[in-house]
Amino acid sequence: MSVPEATLRRVFWRCLFLQAAWNRRGMQNLGFAYAIDPALRRLYSDPALRSAALRRHLGAFSCHPYTASAIVGGAIHHEERVAAGQEPVAGPLAYKQVLQGPLAAVGDGFFWAGLRPFFGALAALGTLALGWPALVASLLVYNVLHLWLRWTLFRAGYRSGDEVLTRLAALSLPAWAARLRDAGSVLCGVIAGIGALSAAGRIGIGAGALLLVSAAAGVVALGYRARLLPTTYAALSLGTAVGALAQVVRGGR
């Protein structure tokens, strides 16, 4: 038998809470079991079989929370085959085991290091140029896009099982991740430029130059593999301190 459409939607909804019970021993294991549970209830009417099925999905699991939806979908695909006696109970577990690492890499690279920073930079630039509606619009587009991708991956996993990799390969997410990273860097450069021009216009040419020097020092430090957050704060406070000092010196004259 196959899992009804309404149950699949319910499982997808529960996938959004994959990390809600994150723990050091099993990581996303409770979230995974919670997400797949409605499907297992449909597939196994015998309480003993249902309990055994839920237990096997309580094993350690860790993936990127977005790309993991492909694995939840694929695990249901395999559980349908287990319930029909077409494959051993180890099938869904092997599927989870093999895909969790590589799909975590795809998700980290595309969503965390590509799409999200890009939309963050877009929101910052949009807000500088057009005001707060641009911020709301950026958040909206990012969320529609990522939820659509999560749903697409979930469906692809459920429909095609192991073939989900072919579908995923067609999206070429690692290549898009590289493009988004480059585009995000360009946006950040434009933001720094706008900031410098605006500071120069409002306070004076020195303020604009100072802002550019602070930003450039931060970029150079990052190039030498400085840590991101301390570097950002150091560059910001350095710029502010020198700016304040300049103000005092000028005011004292």
Binding site: A60, Y95, V98, A105, D108, P174
Partner: protein, 163 residues
């Protein structure tokens, strides 16, 4: 050259491709694992995850020509699944002269393991194995991602004793 050898049950994942590969400027990832090498699904999944400009090989531990990797002009990241696999690799030629640091990434919780770091749990025999690898000349460190602080073997042993 072999830039780093890493022990990680999850093999190729985000920490490896987004964290270590850019940090080490590695152009090639060699996954030395019998189980993954035998699974077409695992091989396809790992290839799919690679960023542009990075290559990957998946081979059984016993089939890797460590001398050739060490002599290669490319910077290579080696990933092994377990401490036992690292010992087999050492016997096969993955020597400290070819790669001085042995990194522990993710070894998950199980009944016989004790917690060392948030991502590394070790059993008694595994700590023994790490002692032998350190005695052979490796600098053993537990460190999930490049920005984490490295936990050395002495500290690993101390935490294991407490756990």
């Amino acid at each position: 050259m072999i830039a780093l050898a890493r022990i990680d049950e999850r093999l190729v994942h985000g920490q490896v491709l987004v964290g270590w590969v850019p940090h080490l400027e590695a152009r090639r990832v060699v996954v030395a694992d019998d189980e993954a090498a035998a699974s077409p699904l695992a091989r396809a999944a790992m290839t799919l995850a690679l960023p542009p400009g990075t290559e990957a090989d998946v081979s059984p531990v016993g089939d890797v020509d460590w001398g050739a990797l060490a002599a290669s002009p490319q910077r290579i990241l080696v990933v092994l699944r377990s401490v036992a696999a690292a010992e087999r690799a050492l016997a096969g030629g993955l020597t400290p002269a070819r790669t001085p640091v042995l990194n522990l990434g993710n070894l998950h919780h199980s009944a016989e393991r004790r917690p060392i770091t948030p991502s590394v749990f070790l059993s008694g025999p595994e700590v023994e194995g790490l002692r032998r690898l350190a005695a052979a000349g490796f600098r053993v460190e537990a460190r999930a991602v490049p920005l984490d602080d490295a936990v050395d073997l002495a500290e690993i042993e101390r935490r294991w004793g407490e756990g």
